[in-house]
Symmetry: D3
Subunit: 247 residues, 6 copies
């Protein structure tokens, strides 16, 4: 039995990162992972949230949303409902936390980076595509900002990308699940890793199912490989800026 869309178990969907996608933001990309498309923007604001004021360090916060027809049937707008769902909150917190792991917040200084990830088309993996795309938008915004302010140190300390892995019935462990696979998967895991191959986030969930230690190891191996490939694509998208990361 092969995968639904003909891919090999360890094969990512086609990934493309278009930079400078919008006119106004300091950093903006359209990331395409198969049929999943997310606009990621980065905005640098010259102040920090109250709990950090006067502590000489910056902050990164993320917001995530889907257009109502990013999905097959129309999803109600959160603005119309008057509140953000638990799923959205989880994703927003994940994106912000992940990016903070590869930014030297002292080097950034007392500024907030606002990351906005807006899914215009969804086919599974929107939160991991958001992280992978947001890293590029953020790094571009920081590069412009570091030049303008002559920051002594480039605040991005390492690359960061994310993908999903999971266990699909009759196929087994696979990399980069699309929507059909994700809906059918017994186990679903999101992995966020750095360029150095270290874990930032690991979120594995049995969907009314469980998984063994051996299965976990198999999933981690797939994820490590996929993330290495994604980071290569990020480096190409960043062009000249690529080599400033981690310096």
């Amino acid at each position: 039995m092969t995968r639904h869309d003909g891919r090999a178990e360890a094969q990512l969907r086609p990934v493309q990162i278009d930079t400078e996608y919008l006119l106004h933001p300091e950093g903006s990309v359209l990331i395409t992972v198969g049929n999943t498309k997310v606009i990621c923007t980065a905005t640098i604001e010259e102040k920090v949230p109250g709990f950090l004021r006067g502590q000489g360090q910056g902050w990164i916060t993320a917001e995530y949303s889907m257009l109502p027809r990013a999905t097959q049937t129309r999803t109600r707008r959160e603005a119309a409902a008057g509140k953000v769902t638990g799923r959205t909150m989880e994703i927003q917190r994940l994106i912000g936390r992940a990016l903070r792991a590869v930014v030297d917040l002292e080097a950034l200084g007392e500024r907030t980076i606002w990351i906005d990830c807006d899914v215009i088309q969804a086919d599974g993996g929107t939160r991991t595509a958001s992280i992978t795309g947001a890293f590029v938008a953020m790094t571009q915004a920081i590069a412009k900002f570091a030049d303008a302010k002559a920051l002594p140190k480039f605040p991005v300390t390492d690359y960061l990308a994310a993908t999903s892995v999971g266990i699909v019935e009759e196929i087994g462990a696979v990399l980069d699940l699309n929507y059909v696979e994700d809906s059918a998967a017994a186990v679903d895991m999101n992995i966020v890793m750095t360029g150095a191959g270290r874990f930032v986030e690991l979120q594995g969930t049995g969907e009314e199912a469980t998984f063994s230690r051996d299965e976990l190891n198999e999933l981690l191996a797939l994820g490590e490989q996929g993330i290495a490939e994604l980071i290569d694509i990020q480096k190409q998208a960043l062009g000249d800026i690529a080599e400033r990361v981690g310096k």
Copy 2:
């Protein structure tokens, strides 16, 4: 004195309407008017709001939103604020009302058409671009639906497009204001018209200013001309479907 971007007083910005822009919606376009870009989608749902149930007619409702970085500085998300602003509500009501004027709601039957207009880049005229784009997305969705359900009558009765006109200091009456012009205009008017040259909506506002009957006439003439040009562009975007409108 000439216009800020070199256009003649009666000149529209470059307009482009990309159809079938997204995978999932029944109708979807990306409309570009200068630097303003709006994704418009149409969804047909097999039920009507409570106040129309059992009356043998359909309904059209619209929602409008801007990405936080559609604008030069980041705008707070309405979902995060927990409520929709008055400006958004006004625009949503305008789009829905305008489209209902050119749809035979009895011919549509007891269905609701959801229009979603999401501004991904804003440079003035987002509400009028939304109406012009939404008409195309809606007509495409209706065409597919009319075929699938073998509707006896095509429910779209005429073309519909919108533009803005205004009075700008030292220049006078101009067509299709961009953001810089809009901010500086003493008078600002949104015009929605049909293919037959009849008015659907006329919203003229003096911004801490007023306007005479002669100025009004000048503005209306500009608007009529601009809308005729926009309807030509809609017809090209609709291709084969174009001739079903009003039949």
Copy 3:
């Protein structure tokens, strides 16, 4: 065919403006237009909203509400629903914008005028009655304030009144629609004009209908005449203060 309540096409309903209607506010009127009754009050506060602070100018903002039984069947309170409807927001924005067009905000200084319009009985035309009544309440409040603070210039620059016009089937263009006419009208237009006969707002809407340029001209003529009559009534209500406007 004659109008539902026997009026001629160009005839306003009986209008009365009772001033000093309430004990506490600086300006307050009860405006009666046929069976429509609105309490309008004006409050002057010694500060401006954040976006105007330190700019040496004032602001005017309006709030509008209806008692639950102003209407034939009980309308749910917006406070109970926890949010203001889109219709209310549109009306509030309209009232504030209209009044700002005839007030010299620099002459007012860094103060906010709060206009409250509370409809206690509704029979069509509540938003235009609100504007006409609010102008009187505001002017009285400003007169007291100008005296108390010895303002060098009286900040109200011209008169301002509003009415509705529309096209009703089998009758044609009529002035000052009541609720029955408004519900049946194919086209409905709100007009706000100054004492000098200039437009401040023009909001014409085809209700699932459209209108031609000739029909528009006919509607504008009716509106101009009605507003001139309303301004005469305002002048009588204002008494001694009347002549300070625009000086």
Copy 4:
């Protein structure tokens, strides 16, 4: 030392109850108690809240609000704030509970009476004036309804009125406190009683103060007398309907 407005300790303010005050509601009054003015309306709806469905009895529910400038300084609208204050909720619950004590809910049948009390001018005692006025509006609405539906029994079983009493420094126990007295009172008590002289509600509160059993007795005597006078005024306002109560 005499009372602030010259009244004797046991003297009510002038009370007036104007019936049929509004066009649309089934019952409506304007009650004036000194400078306090409240519009009270009653609406009968042919359904009951979920918890009463199918139990063969009716319900009475009340809503209360103040116009922003009913008060000396402007009070923020609850609709604008997006929620009802605790004070308003307390008052609403009190009004509904009080009226239910004198209505035979089985005789009313499965209907809800909505009471709306809107304070247009406030000078103390708005909640007790609301109860006294609402009783009249409700009884008128019920009378019309009982006739139209030929109810076998008139559902109002007794009269009901309310007033406040309190202990004011240097004066002692007084009846019907106005705003100045209410602000200064050490003890404040609202009393709701029936035509038969029985208590429905007794809410006595020491405002950072306490009161003895003797003081309580003195307050109750004042309240009993004031309520008897208010019920006489209600009877006159009700005219022919007056004698149907309790039959």
Copy 5:
């Protein structure tokens, strides 16, 4: 006929007050009144609400909540509903107001005492148990605070406790109603009194019923006796601190 749980008419349920119940709060008790159990905590914050700033006095504010399964069937969480019910608001305001009557707010200084009452098991009388327990938690917190800050005067001026009384069919006036009695009672009264036997709050309500002056006197006598017993239990719970109250 005897009471549902075998008690005499004038008999309280068994009452226990466990102090130092939680690790973190400055004052905390678990109060048990029959099957009703409430955790009461007191927190002293070094600031006052805006309306008191700079006036040299403190404030006491209370919050009240029930665990969803404090009750026989699950009650929806107010946090999930997004708003606090009217019943909760009434109780919160009552608790705060009652405690303020026995605290010298000037002696407290510009501080706020936050009282939290969380009902973990409910069997009637939760609001009066909250007041009785909160007094102990508050007094303990104030004692620690008075020592730490060497306050010149102990701010608690008298004891304070609360209980309910009511009229139950076929039994008559009873003290300290449990849930079954409370549901069946025709009249329900909450009484808050001081150690000196003075009233702080008196809230008597006929539940679709009324009560006479004689019945009121009978209820007050029961309440006075019950509160004296509760204050004895508070004194024991407070131990050494007991004698600082009112000194």
Copy 6:
């Protein structure tokens, strides 16, 4: 260097599970893990959410809250704030998802189990204590329900417990972090496992830090051991019911 509270790296805090803790719920426990105390209750309702109606299976949903003074400084109530925080939502979703992994939802039938976890004292690990305690409360409720309804199959398929592991500076990998350790940990991981030693959830987060594959393995080993110990304690708490699990 040893742990802050003297424990060995692989040592749990003292754990106690008191069953039948509250009077009303079908299942209720107080779980104590060191100084962390959580009341967990289970309620079985005879209906399912809309998306499951008519599908012959049940659902489990969880709510989580903290008393304001569960924490060292007072935390604002979510009910007062009017919305649930992202952290709370994440925890609620985690608890529900975890429990669903060990319940045969078809065997449960069309019922919803509501789990309520209320933290009355917090010292780290509240979410994992909630899961461990909720499993016991749920199993007791299901046991009573299975007997009452004579369910053919006991729906709980395996044991389930949760703990935290983390990497603390100068100490390394440790089991069951208290608040002080949690605040200082570079890496924090929550692990949920079954009685069969399979993973249900794995949530590892570098807090502005990252972790290697070797570190991950060390953390997993600690977690496996801790969870085995917790499941032994659950079995003792469940008594006779213990052996029905998984049968």
